[in-house]
C-alpha cells in the first residue's frame, strides 16, 4: 500500500486532493493546541472504526451507475478545484470567474438542462448530487445551484428560442453568471409589494428601482429581474425581464458583509432608467408572478437538498472528531451525552434523507407540489440549525474556530431558514392546506 501514501503526497503537491482537504479544510488549517502529528495519528486510529455499520438506508435506491460516476467526478472537482481556494475566496467575498468556467468545462453547471442547450441532460438527482458534493464539504462559495437549478430553468421554461440559444449555452459553460432579483428593501416575503418598475417605451422597457440581498450580484452578467409592468394590477402586473449588467444605468451596490456564506457575493442592485429591448421580456407580460409561483418549489427543494447535505457533512466530521479528541482520559465519543447526541442526529438525518429523496423523485415525475417543497425546506433548515449547533458544541472551543468545518457550517446554516422564503412563510404555505 506504499503507493497509496506516495500518491497522496504526490497528488497533494500537484493538485491537492481529499487527503489535503482533510488537513486544509475539513480539519484545522492550523491545529491550535493539538500537535499536528498527534492529530494525524489520532485520525488514523479513529477512522478504522467508522466503516463498520452500513444501514440499508445509506443506499439511495434511486441512484444509478450514472449518478455514482457523476458523484465521483463532482466530488473530485470540489476537492481539487474549490476546497484549496475557498479560504481566499472567503477573504475576497466572492469566488473567481475561473472556477465558474472550470465547473462549466467539467459539466457541473446546468446538469438538468437538455444537451441541445449545452446542459448535462440529467435528472433531479444529478442536480442534487452536484450541490451535495459541494455542501458536504461546506464549500458554500460558488453560487452554482442558484444559477443552474433555479435561474436557467426560468429561461428554459419561459424564454423565447432566441433567448435560450443566446444565454443557456453560455450559462452552462460558466461564461455567463446569473442572478435573480426578487427581493427589495421594502419587499421580501411579500413579493407582491415590489416597487421596481419596467415601463414600456416604444420597443424598450425602461427600468427603475432597486433590489437587495442578490446572490451572485457582484459577478452576474445577466439578471432575471422581477419588475412591475403594470403597477395598478398588483401581482398580476408583475413580469420577468432579462437585464444584461452592462446596460447603462445599471449599478451594483457594495458586496454586503454577512454572518455566513463568506465566499459568496450578495449585493444591492440599482436600476436608474435602464433601457432593455422589449425582446428581453421572459414569457408573457404580467405573467411573472405565476412563473415565480411555478418555480419557487424547485428553489425550496434545492435549499432542502443543500441543507441536508451540509448537515450530513458536518455530522460526519463530528463523528470523526469526537473519536479523536480525548478528555478525562478517554475519547469524548465514549460519554453517554455524546453518544445520545450523535444518535439523535443520525435519526434526524436518516429520516430527513428519505423525505428529500422522495421529493427529488416527485420532481423527476413533475409532481412536486408547493407544500411538499415547503416541508422539505422547513424541515431541512430546522434540522440543519439544530445539527450544526450540536456539532459545534461537541467540538468545544475548536468548534468556534473558523478553521473547523463545524464553525463554518454553523455560520452558513443560519440563512437557510431565511432566503428562498422564510420558515414562517413555509409554515404559512403548509398551513393553508390544513
Amino acid at each position: 500500500m506504499l503507493s497509496r501514501v506516495a500518491l497522496t503526497c504526490a497528488r497533494r503537491l500537484t493538485q491537492s486532493t481529499a487527503a489535503s482537504i482533510q488537513q486544509q479544510h475539513q480539519q484545522p488549517r492550523a491545529l491550535l493546541s493539538m500537535g499536528a502529528s498527534a492529530a494525524r495519528a489520532a485520525a488514523g486510529a479513529g477512522s478504522s472504526k467508522q466503516q463498520a455499520y452500513v444501514s440499508p438506508f445509506d443506499e439511495r435506491p434511486q441512484l444509478t451507475d450514472e449518478h455514482r460516476i457523476f458523484r465521483d467526478a463532482a466530488r473530485r472537482f470540489f476537492e481539487t478545484e474549490v476546497a484549496p481556494h475557498h479560504a481566499k475566496w472567503e477573504q475576497d467575498g466572492m469566488v473567481s470567474r475561473e472556477v465558474w468556467e472550470k465547473a462549466g468545462a467539467a459539466g457541473l453547471l446546468g446538469t438538468t438542462i437538455p444537451v441541445e442547450y449545452g446542459g448535462g441532460g440529467g435528472d433531479a438527482f444529478h442536480a442534487a448530487i452536484a450541490v451535495e458534493e459541494q455542501l458536504r464539504l461546506q464549500l458554500s462559495g460558488p453560487g452554482f445551484s442558484l444559477h443552474s437549478d433555479i435561474i436557467i430553468p426560468y429561461i428554459l421554461h419561459y424564454g423565447s428560442e432566441e433567448q435560450k440559444q443566446k444565454w443557456i449555452p453560455l450559462m452552462c459553460q460558466g461564461k455567463a453568471i446569473s442572478a435573480i432579483g426578487m427581493s427589495e428593501p421594502s419587499a421580501g416575503s411579500d413579493l407582491q409589494g415590489i416597487k421596481t418598475t419596467a415601463v414600456r417605451d416604444g420597443d424598450d422597457y425602461v427600468i427603475n428601482g432597486s433590489k437587495i440581498f442578490i446572490s451572485n450580484g457582484q459577478m452576474a452578467d445577466i439578471i432575471v429581474l422581477v419588475a412591475k409592468t403594470d403597477p395598478s394590477k398588483g401581482a398580476h402586473g408583475t413580469s420577468l425581464i432579462l437585464v444584461e449588467t452592462d446596460r447603462p444605468g445599471f449599478q451594483r451596490g457594495r458586496n454586503l458583509k454577512k454572518l455566513g456564506l463568506k465566499a459568496q457575493d450578495t449585493s444591492e442592485l440599482f436600476f436608474d432608467n435602464v433601457r432593455v429591448p422589449a425582446s428581453n421580456l421572459l414569457g408573457k407580460e404580467n405573467h411573472g408572478f405565476k412563473y415565480l409561483m411555478q418555480e419557487l418549489g424547485t428553489e425550496r427543494l434545492v435549499i432542502g437538498v443543500l441543507s441536508q447535505a451540509s448537515a450530513e457533512g458536518v455530522f460526519a466530521d463530528t463523528v470523526k472528531y469526537v473519536n479523536e479528541r480525548q478528555a478525562f482520559g478517554k475519547s469524548i465519543a465514549s460519554f453517554q451525552n455524546t453518544k445520545f447526541k450523535l444518535a439523535e442526529m443520525k435519526t434526524q438525518l436518516s429520516v430527513g434523507r428519505v423525505f428529500i429523496d422522495r421529493c427529488l423523485e416527485l420532481q423527476n415525475q413533475g409532481k412536486l407540489d408547493p407544500v411538499a417543497a415547503a416541508i422539505a425546506k422547513l424541515h431541512a433548515g430546522d434540522m440543519l440549525a439544530k445539527i450544526t449547533d450540536e456539532c459545534l458544541q461537541l467540538h468545544g472551543g475548536y468548534g468556534f474556530m473558523w478553521e473547523y468545518t463545524a464553525a463554518r457550517a454553523y455560520a452558513d446554516a443560519r440563512v437557510q431558514r431565511i432566503y428562498g422564503g422564510t420558515s414562517e412563510i413555509m409554515k404559512d404555505i403548509i398551513s393553508r392546506t390544513l
Binding site: T8, A19, S48, E66, R76, A106, G107, H126
Partner: protein, 255 residues
C-alpha cells in the same frame, strides 16, 4: 491505431485500508472503490492520443467482479470508445495475479489488433508493478515503463520519456508496444454528465477468461497480510557520541 487501456477497480485512495480478521487480505466490502489512479492517468493519455488524431480507437479493459462495469462506465464517460469486462468473481478474483492478467491482456491485444497497450505503472491496492512488464514480455513487444511523457512518432514508433533516478530518460519504441503511466503523464479529466449519459450507449462487452483460453490459476500463495507496524516515538540523544553509541548498540550499525 488502436489502444487498449487497463483500468483496475481498487479501494479508493482516500480510504484507509484495514486488514481482514483472518489476515487473508484487506476489507473490501462496503468500502468505496474507484479506478486505480495510475490507470486513470493512462486512460487520459489514451484519450488525448485519440483527440490528437494519432489513435482511432481506445478500448478500456477491466478484469474482476461485476462492479468493475462501473469502472468501465467511468472510462467510457471519460472518452474510451468501448469497453471489455473480463468477469472474475469471488475466490478466483481474490487470487487473480499479475501473470494471469497479463495473459488476458496479451490475448485481448492480439484479438483486437491493438498497436499500444497502456497501463498504470502499478495498482494502489497490491502495488505489484508487474502487469505492464509481463504483458510486454508475453507479447514480445517493447516496453516503456513509468512514462512521464508519451508521443506517437509517425505511426510506427512512440517516444517515451521516463523519470529515472537522476534525470529523464527518453526512449523510442517500435509499435506495437506496452507503456505504463507514471504520475505526471497526464492529469485526468472530469467525466462530465453529458458524457456520462452518452457513455450509456457505448458498447461494453464481456469476455470470460475461458473464452479467451487463459488459465488464471494463481502461482503465488498469500500466507498472511499484516498491518504495517505502528511507528514508535523517537528518542533524543544528548550529543554525537550518544548517537554513535545508539547506532552501534541498538541499530547494529558497524563502522
Amino acid at each position: 491505431m488502436r489502444v487498449i487501456v487497463g483500468v483496475k477497480r481498487v479501494v479508493d485512495f482516500a480510504i484507509k485500508a484495514r486488514v481482514k480478521a483472518d489476515k487473508t487480505g484487506v476489507v473490501t466490502e462496503g468500502v468505496k472503490h474507484s479506478m486505480n489512479p495510475f490507470d486513470e492517468i493512462a486512460l487520459e493519455q489514451g484519450i488525448r492520443l485519440k483527440e490528437s488524431g494519432a489513435v482511432k480507437e481506445v478500448i478500456a479493459v477491466s478484469c474482476g467482479p461485476t462492479a468493475c462495469q462501473e469502472t468501465l462506465r467511468t472510462a467510457l464517460a471519460m472518452g474510451a470508445d468501448r469497453a471489455i469486462h473480463v468477469p472474475v468473481e469471488g475466490a478466483a478474483y481474490e487470487t487473480l495475479q499479475p501473470l494471469a492478467v497479463a495473459k488476458i491482456f496479451k490475448k485481448l491485444a492480439e484479438d483486437n489488433q491493438a498497436n499500444l497497450v497502456l497501463f498504470g505503472k502499478q495498482a494502489i491496492d497490491d502495488d505489484a508493478n508487474q502487469t505492464a512488464q509481463l504483458t510486454s514480455a508475453l507479447l514480445n513487444w517493447p516496453q516503456g515503463a513509468f512514462a512521464a511523457k508519451l508521443s506517437v512518432e509517425g505511426g510506427s514508433k512512440v517516444k517515451v520519456v521516463r523519470e529515472i533516478d537522476g534525470g529523464l530518460e527518453t526512449i523510442e519504441l517500435n509499435l506495437p508496444a506496452v507503456v505504463s503511466a507514471d504520475l505526471r503523464l497526464a492529469e485526468p479529466r472530469y467525466a462530465s454528465l453529458a458524457n456520462i449519459m452518452k457513455a450509456k450507449k457505448k458498447p461494453l462487452d464481456k469476455k470470460t477468461p475461458e473464452e479467451l483460453g487463459v488459465d488464471i490459476k494463481p502461482r503465488i500463495k498469500t500466507l498472511s497480510v499484516e498491518e504495517p507496524p505502528v511507528r514508535k516515538a523517537g528518542i533524543k540523544v544528548e550529543n554525537v557520541d550518544g548517537l554513535l553509541q545508539k547506532l552501534r548498540t541498538e541499530a547494529g550499525v558497524t563502522f
